[in-house]
């Protein structure tokens, strides 16, 4: 029941005393406080007004310019796919990989899922997917470059060729020029391991890539003869064996300077130009000492060895020093 209903008198309390004081009656500090308070209130009001004005302006722009945000907001179905790449993959590959339904709306796309699909191809190193409103999906990718190739066979499947990048990732190599692929050396002596749904990166490929890059850059004629790169002894001995098309085996030290080793090889080949005594093995992994193995000349039709004996298995002759500081007796046939 209220006071009015009870007919009670209204008693005045100290709270009825007006607390307003004229600035004139205030002290200096009081006036300073009053001024500061007014400034703070003004700044607050100004900030609030600015925000309100900004919101109003934004609303006006959206209302008047229908080509701007409204289109973005409602979004269209995906009409075009744009692929930006630094490699050889094309739009067909992108369409196959993304496998978007025909009526997929741009805003309805799960970009994370699509990105994982793109990255599912090991040839793709990194990927960014962007919605370009109203109807374009842009995919930017960075591809892996192959440095070698290998033959892989899983279970009872037919062997298939894979390309290997510098970081050891093996991938199918979609879209590469077969002529370019044919120039890549083969990799052997590695055991491929499946991890998840893909092949685990091959260890030591960075060292191989450095060797191949050095050779390609400094002695391309030599590089073109290299057929097989063996990583069999890389982990254990730190050596990479290269088998050439001519049947020569070159051993490189993975911990040595490749340029120096290639230079020595080049010099050695130039110095051993006797066709009757071709080089069969060169070991560049021992520093300045380079043991070499000479073979016999390719047999003529007249002096063919028995059928069971192939040139590769022909017993090489003695070991000769490649450089003057070599000791003749120090090295024997391997």
């Amino acid at each position: 029941m209220s006071k009015d209903a009870l007919g009670l008198p209204e008693t005045r309390t100290w709270r009825d005393i007006p607390q307003q004081v004229r600035p004139r009656a205030m002290s200096l500090e009081g006036r300073r406080r009053l001024t500061m308070g007014a400034i703070r209130a003004s700044l607050g009001a100004l900030a609030l007004g600015t925000v309100a004005w900004g919101a109003w302006e934004m609303a006006a722009v959206l209302r008047e310019n229908s080509a701007a945000m409204p289109d973005v907001a409602k979004s269209d179905r995906v009409r075009s796919l744009v692929l930006v790449t630094d490699g050889v993959l094309d739009k067909d590959w992108l369409a196959r990989t993304l496998a978007l339904p025909g009526d997929a709306a741009l805003m309805g796309l799960d970009l994370i899922k699509l990105r994982s699909r793109v990255l599912g191809d090991a040839q793709v190193g990194s990927a960014t997917i962007i919605r370009n409103f109203p109807s374009t999906l842009t995919v930017r990718i960075s591809e892996r470059s192959p440095v070698a190739r290998l033959m892989a066979q899983s279970g009872g499947d037919a062997p298939r060729m894979l390309l290997v990048s510098r970081d050891g990732v093996a991938f199918a190599g979609t879209g590469f020029d077969p002529a370019m692929v044919a120039t890549l050396p083969w990799v052997e002596g590695v055991k491929l391991v499946r991890r998840g749904g893909s092949i685990a990166p091959i260890d030591g490929m960075a060292a191989v890539a450095d060797l191949l890059a050095s050779a390609k850059l400094e002695a391309e004629t030599l590089y073109r003869t290299w057929q097989v790169i063996s990583l069999e002894r890389l982990a254990s001995d730190g050596e990479i064996d290269v088998h050439t098309r001519g049947g020569m085996k070159i051993t490189f030290g993975a911990n040595e300077d490749y340029l120096r080793q290639i230079a020595r090889l080049d010099l050695l080949i130039d110095a051993s130009s006797d066709p009757t005594r071709p080089l069969r093995a060169v070991n560049l992994a021992l520093g300045p000492q380079v043991p070499v193995v000479y073979g016999t000349a390719a047999p003529t039709l007249g002096d063919l060895a028995p059928a069971s004996a192939s040139p590769a298995l022909a017993r090489p002759s003695i070991v000769l020093p490649a450089f003057s500081n070599f000791h003749i007796d120090a090295h024997r046939e391997l």
């Binding site: 006071k3 008198p9 008693t11 100290w14 005393i17 607390q19 009081g30």
Partner: protein, 404 residues
């Protein structure tokens, strides 16, 4: 529940000094973080007589407190004293509406409104409405009688009121610093709350705060203030009496009072003399010690007698088991508690701040300022709880401040 930290200033505009404290109130507790003090000017017997001088002194104290706290005060709780303050008791009773005689909120609200409704003389304003315990059919109910069964509900209020201009002057002194007075607390309630325990208030206790210009007292019964009052007499009058009796200046008399004044005469030798300064300087002279003690003792006895007379039948030693607790600057007069015990016929002691109060705030001169903070926060909490119509969280918070 989130609560923005508030910095509350507690200000006591006294006749001798102006004390200001800054409390950091977090919603759960209040912590004293700064204090300031300034000798008072422009205040006589607790009333502002020179606005400019009083404003300057008060603002000096506030600035010192703010500087000490390193924070800006948001609002002020102000102590109110002065001879213009008076109190009266008014009670009301109500027949419970419900057929089953169960008391409802509406009954409580109505009886409270009836008890508070009293016309005041022109120019008077209510400072406090202090509720005494409810009675249901004559049975004392210390808390809320809601849902109790009875036919008759009674309640009484002790209403303290003061002169509008005097109240406004005090408020305007604070407003001159561009600060809002959010709570006006009677000095006696503030200091009484500080120097008495909950148990003492429950058993009955009389707290007397003797300042320089006024003496504030509050009698507690059943845990709540029963009667309050203000006398426009304080320690300054002791000084004045010595000044007149021994023909000295105020400053000289004050010096003698502080050094040799007593509330009970102890000196037996009429010829025992004391030096005014004791440094043999020009004007230094001797005074009979007994004369000084006689003057202060007579004034102390008279002051306490007046308090007792003002209390009348409200005070009885048998209903005041907690005795008399003395506080305020003038309460430091030696043997005042002995004098009070004789006058009131019960035990008396000098009030002390609770143990958790910082050492530099334990002086009786700060009890009122401390009490303003704690009493003010409690009062605000009670009001907020009442406004929400439930005695929930805030009510519990206020209970935190009740000293044990």
């Amino acid at each position: 529940m989130s609560f923005k930290t508030a910095y509350i200033g507690a200000v006591e505009i006294g006749t001798a000094k102006i004390a200001a404290l800054v409390g950091e109130y977090t919603g759960r507790e209040i912590v004293i973080i700064g204090c300031g003090e300034c000798p008072s000017r422009g205040v006589i017997k607790g009333s502002v007589v020179d606005y400019r001088a009083a404003t300057e002194c008060t603002q000096t104290a506030l600035e010192l407190a703010e500087r000490d706290a390193n924070e800006r005060i948001d609002q002020v709780f102000l102590a109110q004293t002065g001879g213009h303050l008076e109190g009266f008791y008014n009670e009301a009773s109500l027949n419970v509406k419900a057929a089953d005689n169960m008391i409802e909120k509406d009954d409580i609200r109505t009886v409270c409104e009836l008890a508070k409704a009293k016309d005041l003389p022109l120019g008077r304003m209510v400072v406090h409405n202090i509720r005494r315990p409810f009675r249901v059919d004559g049975r004392l109910v210390p808390t809320s009688p809601e849902n109790l069964v009875g036919q008759k509900l009674e309640v009484g209020y002790w209403t303290v009121h003061g002169q509008e201009q005097r109240l406004a002057d005090n408020i305007h002194v604070i407003r001159g610093f561009n600060l809002e007075v959010s709570e006006l607390v009677l000095s006696s309630l503030a200091s009484g709350h500080m120097v008495t325990s909950l148990e003492e208030r429950q058993n009955g206790v009389l707290a007397i705060d003797i300042g320089a210009g006024t003496t504030d007292y509050v009698l507690y019964r059943n845990g709540v203030p029963h009667t309050t009052g203000v006398l426009a007499v304080g320690g300054g009058h002791f000084t004045n009496d010595i000044s007149i009796g021994l023909r000295l200046t105020e400053a000289q008399a004050e010096k003698l009072k502080l050094r040799f004044g007593r509330a009970v005469v102890q000196a037996r030798d009429r010829n025992e003399k004391v030096w005014l300064d004791g440094n043999f300087s020009i004007g230094d002279r001797q005074f009979p010690r007994q004369a000084i003690e006689s003057i202060t003792a007579a004034r102390a006895w008279e002051l306490l007698e007046v308090v007792k007379k003002k209390l009348g039948h409200a005070f009885a030693p048998e209903t005041c088991a907690g005795g008399v607790v003395l506080t305020g600057g003038a309460a430091k007069l030696p043997a005042l508690s002995v004098c009070a015990a004789k006058v009131f016929g019960t035990q008396a002691r000098l009030g002390e701040a609770p143990s958790w109060v910082n050492e530099n705030l334990r002086d009786p001169g700060f009890h009122t300022a401390l009490g303003i903070l704690y009493y003010g926060v409690s009062a605000q909490g009670d009001r907020a709880a009442a406004a929400r119509g439930r005695g929930g969280f805030l009510h519990n918070v206020t209970r935190l401040f009740a000293p044990t």
